[in-house]
């Protein structure tokens, strides 16, 4: 594609209709209700803690995709914008997942190991808790 042709075709994506936006908005509300139901289900013991967390994360992931793709027009816009957004977004997600793994999965195992000695067990029991 020559530079002139590229300039002509640029930004000629069609924008969705008002009805489509309202449909997406209704979908977002529905997904939020499901997220809250997941929290309520966990609080009332319907779901296990891990199950509810995974369910809520999947629902929020779908919401994230819907807003970015349709409201921010990435689905209709030039793919370069998708790359500019997706790379740092994935990097940020990787840092978050890395911290969760490091501080809650790996470090959690280490805390249990240290608790094998009486002194450490006392330290751990009086140490970090919910917060």
């Amino acid at each position: 594609m020559s530079s002139t042709t590229r300039e002509i075709v640029h930004d000629q994506h069609t924008h969705p209709t008002r009805r489509f936006y309202l449909f997406i908005g209704a979908g977002l509300l529905l997904l939020t209700v499901l997220e809250i139901l997941g929290y309520v289900g966990e609080t009332k013991g319907v779901y296990a803690s891990g199950t509810a967390a995974i369910l809520i994360l999947i629902l929020s992931g779908i919401k994230f995709f819907m807003v970015v793709a349709y409201f921010m027009h990435l689905k209709f816009d030039n793919k370069l914008f998708t790359g500019i957004f997706a790379f740092p977004a994935l990097l940020g997600t990787l840092v978050i997942v890395g911290c969760i793994m490091l501080f809650h999965v790996v470090h959690g195992v280490a805390t249990e190991y240290h608790a094998n000695t009486p002194a450490d067990a006392q330290h751990v029991s009086g140490g970090p808790r919910g917060g």
Binding site: I8, I56, F85, F103, G130
Partner: protein
């Protein structure tokens, strides 16, 4: 097509953008800014998640057993669920505002921009109420790790919402003065990108901070 012919085409058709990518530089710059914001909020959320559950003293976010005694969580899920609905609805109003600007509907543009700003302000009101309530319950930036990471993360988000509300009110004023017509669609689209990004960040914060224990 020779250079002179191409330049004449540029003058006649506003869709022509004379950049190396063929894309508008303002939009490109704004997406780059949003990318950098992803890294900022990514680091703040990662810090919150790293210290989640590590507070030595209360108040705690969720119901917690401390020495066999149940301490009730400080987070107000019904209030935050309401404010989440409000922020999501403001995003819908933002796309309706953009839709109205594209169609040259002046009154619709002003109305939806003002409604978006209003809903953003309601969200901020909920956050101010929540912060004030937490302060009276003894949770400050210095109280514990939860207080420090929670206030920094949600405070940064609230600051972004505040900037967005000011941005939208300015646009609504300009639209009222007739300075935001279909030829200025990109200005509203960029404001919309900012507002939707603020919404997207809340979509991540809400489950990680409030819903997942």
């Amino acid at each position: 097509m020779d250079h002179a012919h191409a330049m004449a085409g540029h003058a006649a058709d506003p869709a022509h953008i004379d950049t190396s990518t063929g894309l508008d530089s303002r939009k490109m710059a704004f997406w780059t800014f949003i990318g950098s914001e992803c890294l900022l909020f990514g680091s703040l959320i990662a810090t919150y998640m790293a210290y989640k559950g590590s507070s030595l003293t209360g108040p705690y976010p969720h119901d917690t057993l401390v020495n066999g005694k149940l301490e009730h969580g400080i987070l107000n899920i019904p209030l935050t669920s309401f404010s989440t609905f409000i922020l999501l609805m403001s995003s819908v109003m933002m796309v309706l505002a953009l839709n109205a600007v594209q169609k040259g509907d002046k009154s619709g543009s002003v109305l939806w921009l003002l409604m978006t700003a209003l809903f953003g302000s309601v969200f901020l009101g909920c956050q101010v109420f929540e912060f004030t309530h937490f302060y009276h319950e003894g949770l400050t930036l210095q109280t514990n790790l939860f207080g420090s990471t929670f206030f920094v993360l949600t405070g940064f988000h609230g600051a972004h919402v505040t900037v967005g509300v000011i941005y939208l009110l300015t646009l609504a004023y300009l639209a009222h003065k007739g300075k935001v017509g279909p030829e200025k669609t990109l200005n509203v689209e960029i404001a919309g990108l900012y507002w939707h990004f603020v919404d997207v960040i809340w979509i991540v914060i809400f489950p990680l901070v409030y819903l997942i224990k």
